[in-house]
């Protein structure tokens, strides 16, 4: 059975159907790519899967438990983490503190006041470990606002990792990155993929085709196609397109 599964997700905003009927299944240890044109419903789908929107119909099951209708933080606590298209960081604080406040043990006693965190060396060590995983070792003391754009993307992934997830959802992680940044992010994602189940929304098809085990194409609020990158490439129209030129 899949680690995470959605069946018949339907979501409308007023008169507009945004998700008609989404069926997705993510197996443990795999990376699933989600692609689709603008306005296809990809981000709304992520919002439903991670509790930010409540679907009008459909089931969402994580590790055997129906998590549909749970609030975002309850879903995070069960081991589901995500990033957002727009970067959300505490710019004035250090890289390390950004991660420290995202640690679950710290979040639980956030009322204890910020000041104590500086003295919680256990939390700082764990935050430093997370930063090392995303390639930000050595940058702990920098202010978040002083990071390069690619580093900010990595820090955002670190915030998601701080909750200790079993499945990680990334929403357009390459957005705004140049070729070098995208390549470095690709290395980071393939490293994370060794220990995590991942789901990645991405416009950059080459990025996705190189990393994903399976891909779901979302359009008109439905999964219109799916399969391994090779299966999708075998489609004669894909073979006619620019995608086919890439040899990976």
């Amino acid at each position: 059975m899949a680690l995470f599964e959605a069946r018949g997700l339907h979501k409308r905003f007023g008169d507009r159907v945004v998700l008609e009927a989404i069926d997705l299944a993510f197996d443990a240890g795999t990376l699933t790519g989600i692609m689709g044109p603008n306005g296809a419903g990809k981000t709304t789908c992520f919002h439903c899967l991670t509790g930010y929107h409540r679907p009008d119909r459909g089931r969402i099951v994580f590790d055997g438990e129906d998590i549909g209708g749970l609030r975002p933080h309850e879903i995070v606590r069960r081991g589901v983490a995500r990033s957002f298209q727009a970067i959300n960081l505490f710019d004035a604080d250090t890289v390390l503190d950004n991660v420290v406040v995202a640690l679950p043990e710290v979040r639980r006693r956030v009322a204890d006041a910020w000041g104590d965190l500086a003295r919680d060396s256990g939390a700082q060590d764990r935050a430093a470990e997370v930063l090392a995983r995303v390639g930000l070792a050595g940058r702990e003391r920098a202010r978040a606002k002083d990071l390069a754009y690619g580093e900010r993307r990595a820090l955002e992934i670190a915030l998601a990792l701080a909750s200790g997830p079993r499945i990680l959802f990334l929403d357009e992680p390459t957005s705004g990155l140049g070729a070098d940044g995208t390549a470095r992010l690709g290395e980071l994602v393939s490293e994370l993929k060794r220990t995590l189940t991942m789901v990645v929304i991405e416009h950059d098809m080459r990025f996705l085709f190189g990393l994903a085990d399976t891909i779901a194409v979302i359009h008109w609020g439905q999964v219109i196609a799916g399969g391994t990158p090779r299966e999708l490439r075998d489609n004669p129209w894909v073979a006619r397109s620019a995608l086919a030129e890439d040899p990976c």
């Binding site: 507009r16 008609e20 009927a21 219109i224 999708l232 086919a244």
Partner: protein, 205 residues
């Protein structure tokens, strides 16, 4: 058994502003589709293609006639459940809002979740990204699963016609508010009005 879609004596009249009332545009349609199929819809801008889709999905109100989807009069179904019978996939800028005269609770329930009639209004086909192939597979899957698929395409590239020929089993050509049926691609592109519409894209005889 009820037919999948019955467009019965459908008339939609638009009036020009001012007095006395003057009819500015009339769309007339009368056709029936018994079994699942994929139907291509073509016609010049302003000929009534989108209005026809709006009438079939029940967002626009006909002046005369009725539309039945799977045996249900779509205009008697609750507004927000009509897309469980017939769904119009449009470009977001095309969405038009219509006046609603009857409170929803007085109307009927759709009685199903998944629509049986799927109307695609000028999907964006771009050769570069390969999505066309996924879209065509999806149309074919909907058709295989027993649905009626409408594909409205405004051809301005030769391969747009390839898509229509590959995907559609029959066609409707809308011109000046009249809907003409064609039972296949060959008869469609042989029609003089269609050839005029296609212009330089019309395949050689």
């Amino acid at each position: 058994m009820a037919s999948l879609l019955k467009v019965d004596g459908l008339v939609k009249r638009y009036y020009a502003p001012g007095w006395p009332r003057r009819v500015a545009f009339t769309l007339e349609a009368d056709f029936e589709v018994d079994a699942p199929r994929t139907i291509g819809l073509l016609g010049p801008n302003g000929s009534g293609k989108t209005t026809l889709f709006e009438l079939v999905t029940g967002s626009n109100v006909p002046t005369e006639g009725r539309v039945s989807v799977d045996g249900r009069d779509i205009h008697k179904v609750r507004y927000r459940e009509r897309d469980r019978l017939a769904i119009h996939y449009h470009q977001s800028y095309q969405v038009r809002a219509f006046r609603r005269t009857v409170p929803s609770f007085l109307l009927e329930r759709a009685g199903r979740d998944r629509p049986r009639v799927h109307l695609f209004d000028e999907p964006q086909f771009a050769l570069q990204d390969g999505y066309i192939g996924f879209m065509l597979d999806f149309f074919a899957r909907l058709r295989r699963e027993g649905n009626l698929v409408f594909l409205c395409v405004h051809p301005n590239e030769p391969w747009h016609l390839d898509i229509l020929r590959e995907a559609c089993e029959s066609f409707l050509f809308v011109r000046r508010g009249r809907v003409a049926p064609f039972d296949g691609y060959a008869s469609l592109v042989a029609d003089p009005d269609v050839r005029t519409y296609l212009g330089a894209l019309a395949p050689p005889h």
